[in-house]
Amino acid sequence: EDKVVQSPLSLVVHEGDTVTLNCSYEVTNFRSLLWYKQEKKAPTFLFMLTSSGIEKKSGRLSSILDKKELFSILNITATQTGDSAVYLCAQADYGQNFVFGPGTRLSVLP
């Protein structure tokens, strides 16, 4: 069974800190790796990564994929309390099969 592993599972930082969240996957027929932020119920889309080594950025968030080593990282610089959330990564294959990781619960303290 495909497996997506995230680390750490929880993280507490102070505002202004930089955090790196990790996601590793084991999958055949890989299509893309996605990152989501979940604050209440519905996850909101952050990034979709399909190619190795190409960093995607959105404001203070950035992400990169390493298809050789089968992992991705999500960086958040200058964290703010509004970044507190669960960050989920998910891998999708060409069969539209989706597997989510357990998530990293990030708490940013003022």
Partner: protein
């Protein structure tokens, strides 16, 4: 990206009853996905719903417990049948958004008492 209207947003139900959750998408989509998120857990795919055919269920989920309708390309329902407290979860529908990834409905928080 597509906008999904999901309802109800929450409900408290008696055990043994059923609840139908609706998702309306503002554009036509081929596939819709239904997820469950149990307390403290990640998202688990229940089934994939294609218009005009029976839904495809993941291991551990069966049609009798989670019947799905997909009458057209913009709408789908998921019913949680004969509920027990173990069904208390957040239920989410999702559609593919191309380069924008997958979009989720706002979720339904179900509590079974």
């Amino acid at each position: 990206s597509a906008v999904i209207s999901q309802k109800p947003s929450r409900d408290i139900c008696q055990r043994g009853t059923s609840l139908t959750i609706q998702c309306q998408v503002d554009s036509q989509v081929t596939m819709m996905f239904w997820y469950r998120q149990q307390p403290g857990q990640s998202l688990t795919l229940i089934a994939t719903a294609n218009q005009g055919s029976e839904a495809t269920y993941e291991s551990g989920f069966v049609i009798d417990k989670f019947p799905i309708s997909r009458p057209n390309l913009t709408f789908s329902t998921l019913t949680v049948s004969n509920m027990s407290p173990e069904d208390s979860s957040i239920y989410l529908c999702s559609v593919e958004g191309g380069s924008l990834g997958y979009t989720f409905g706002s979720g339904t928080r179900l509590t079974v008492v």
